[in-house]
């Protein structure tokens, strides 16, 4: 028994040595993969990544390790992956706003289009426009009309400039002509607290965190992103005339450009298998997240559109 396992270990060690000697024949992945998250601990990316990395090893045959590298609004971690070897052992777990929007706001030390290829969009989260349960705004149209009539009077709490709540708010303002007073908070949690305590009249939030607040009547949802209804009695952006990829946070795994095709294939296959994984699905659904996979090439089309749309948006705000 022990002898057997010893033989196996020696055998594995030999294989490993040979593999190192002949990288051309080595099969990826032969060592753990690092997943860099350019945000802080405890955020939604961190929690999503913990679910991914605790379930993907079965399909990948290797461990995946989370490394949090927050700083400069996500640029620090992103730059680290951009300059890492394109061998598939260092990947980035980001979202569309850091990925495609920042390039239009400031000069980045990397070029997101040229330096990265998307591997998989793991899931996405649609935004919801939220007011307090006792708010005077009965509907989304009501809110928009009021914001048009009193430009800059209605406080909208968001989670930081150019972040996941700010951008949808700015896009809604641009599409409808409404003018909100945008007040930043350090994260979605504090923004929601500001809404509940009366420091803001409107905020945005993801359905994954809204459930108990809606059920208890503390907040009401006026509209949700996308063309399909999430709540039976709440209209969508599509129904109110806001169309396109507005109000979706896509959580996406990216690799440095130049990563070998067979490596990308293996990663895509692993993420595809992961979507079918029962415990992955169970954990994600408990978190209130979907498991709607988009593979690299399909997501790249979305990326191109995002980049164009964000450029127009940024230009309209900053000029």
């Amino acid at each position: 028994m022990y002898l057997n396992s010893l033989k196996k270990t020696v055998g594995a060690a030999l294989v490993a040595t040979l593999a190192f000697g002949m990288p051309a024949f080595a099969e990826y992945p032969e060592k753990p993969i690092t997943l860099v998250i350019p945000f802080g601990a405890g955020g939604s990316h961190d929690l999503n990544a913990r679910i991914i990395t605790s379930t993907i090893p079965t399909h990948l045959g290797q461990a995946m390790i989370v490394r949090l590298t927050p700083g400069a609004g996500g640029q620090k971690g992103t730059q680290e992956v951009a300059s890492a070897a394109a061998d598939g052992y260092t990947l980035l777990f980001a979202h569309n706003y850091t990925d495609m929007l920042q390039q239009h706001v400031e000069n980045l030390p990397y070029d997101p289009m040229a330096d990265f290829v998307p591997i998989a969009r793991v899931n996405y989260a649609p935004i919801a426009v939220v007011v307090r349960g006792d708010s005077d705004y009965a509907s989304f149209t009501d809110l928009v009309e009021s914001a048009k009539a009193n430009p800059g009077e209605i406080d909208l709490a968001h989670s930081g400039n150019w972040g996941a709540l700010f951008v949808p708010a700015a896009q809604v303002m641009k599409e409808t002509g409404a003018q909100f007073n945008l007040v930043p908070f350090q994260g979605g949690g504090p923004a929601m607290q500001a809404l509940l305590s009366g420091d803001a009249e409107v905020t945005m939030g993801f359905p994954s965190v809204l459930g108990p607040l809606i059920d208890s009547g503390k907040v009401r949802v006026l509209a949700t992103a996308g063309p399909e209804r999430i709540y039976d009695d709440v209209p969508t952006f599509g129904e109110t005339g806001i169309v396109g990829d507005i109000g979706f946070m896509h959580r996406v795994v990216l690799a440095p450009a130049g990563t070998p095709p067979e490596v990308i294939e293996k990663l895509e296959a692993s993420f595809t298998a992961l979507q079918e994984d029962k415990s992955f699905q169970r954990l994600m659904s408990r978190m209130g997240e979907n498991t709607d996979l988009l593979l690299g090439a399909d997501y790249q089309k979305l990326r191109d559109e995002q980049s164009d749309a964000y450029k127009v948006l940024v230009d309209s705000i900053t000029q």
């Binding site: 802080g40 601990a41 405890g42 955020g43 961190d46 929690l47 913990r50 679910i51 990395t53 605790s54 989370v66 490394r67 949090l68 590298t69 927050p70 700083g71 400069a72 609004g73 640029q75 620090k76 730059q79 680290e80 706001v105 400031e106 030390p109 800059g152 009077e153 406080d155 930081g160 400039n161 150019w162 007073n181 945008l182 007040v183 930043p184 908070f185 350090q186 949690g189 504090p190 929601m192 607290q193 500001a194 509940l196 305590s197 009366g198 420091d199 803001a200 965190v209 459930g211 108990p212 607040l213 059920d215 208890s216 503390k218 954990l283 408990r286 978190m287 209130g288």
Partner: protein, 492 residues
Amino acid sequence: MIEQFAEGALMAFRFDTLMMIAIGLFSGMLVGALPGFTTLMAMAILLPLSFFLDPLVGIPFLLGVYKGGIFGGSIPAILVSMPGTGAAVATSIDGYKLTQKGESRKALDMALFSSVIGDTFSDVFTILMIFPIALLVMQFGPPELFAVLLMSLVIIVATSGSNPLKGLVMMLFGLWLAQIGTDPIGGVERFTFGIFELKSGIPLLPMLIGVFALPELVYAVMRNERASGFAKLVGERLTKAEFKRCIPTIRRSTLIGTAIGIVPGLGQVVAAMMGYSAAKNASSNPETFGDGEVEGVAAAEAANNAVNGPTLVPLLTLGIPGDNVTAILLGAFVAQGLRPGPQLFEEQGTIVFAILVAMVLANLMFIVIGYLSIPFFARIVTIKTGLLVPIVIMFAFAGAYVFRSDTTDVLMLVGFGLFGLLARAAKFDVMPMVMGFILGGPLEYAFGQTVAMAGNNPLGFVLTERFGMVAVLIATPIIGFLLWRRMKTATT
């Protein structure tokens, strides 16, 4: 409700629950003691483990890691003057002095007892008063946070020592350092000179290790004590009399910490400093503070641990995580199918009470685990200087690097080390600088939010809608002046 509570309390007494709490406490303490590794990281890494455990095992386990980690942070702060977090800075002031006097065991004992008492009280208070606290939390917005932060800074300077002017200079320098990097609201780069590494600002950990630990290492080498390390002895354990003497301080700090925990966004750093300043100010011999006063350790530790209870309130009553630790706990709750929110207690009351009771049990267990571990930790300082100094240097550099995996941080560490030496030579206390740096970011952010909320009419907004802010702002100079005068008469 009471039935649920009784049922839940009984559920918490499970062997596997208690076992995992113990494991969590011990591993949290070890991780917390390593500079560069934060409790937050440990919790994030261990979170997936809780996904696959019973809720009454997984969540208490994470809470154990959290509580163990906070105490763990005070171990290097006391033994080698290396606070790994802002919350441990106040502990290191007197804690390290006690180590140098050969009384490290006493300092660690005091830290343990006062943190457990502060934590237990605030947990019990939170469990009993959870709904009133939830209402109170709602009274604080960015304007009030700004005013309270400003008042904290004034109190820190006023009680900083014999020369408040020097303290003020250092604090302003710290506030300036906090400005470096990308402006958190407008996104404008400030004082970065186009250097990308400076864009995310100056990291806290290299500053802490640099200004507090590196100068001590240099001094230890200069003293050239061949026979022993930082201290010859580990000393006696804490005596009953000493503990009794500190009870009023622990009580005061616990109240301060709990109150600060209710204000969203203030946190452990402010609590520890306010607890420490208050104890120093109330003492009849304030000059002993900073010179190895065991009361100073008690004041800081009781206060920073008492923050923990109330910070859970927004999470439990609204499902809103106020900081990253509670965000991880939220993840652990929802992965177990528990949805924190207004109906949590109605729908899942029993199990939530069980978790809260387990949290209190964790504190009690920690007294035993901590008390038994302290002699081993305390011994570290008696290692020969020739061995201890290189080991501590290694941990200092590794800790500064590992936090963000960035080599720039190692340069920062050396820079702050040199600065610490210079400041000491010129008899400037670095503490107000560090506090200015830590609180500068939140202060500026809260100010920016207040301005944003005010829209076009800041003055009208503040005067008509924010009476609390105005009251605190008016009280601040008065309190600052009174504290300064009292310190002056007490020390001369």
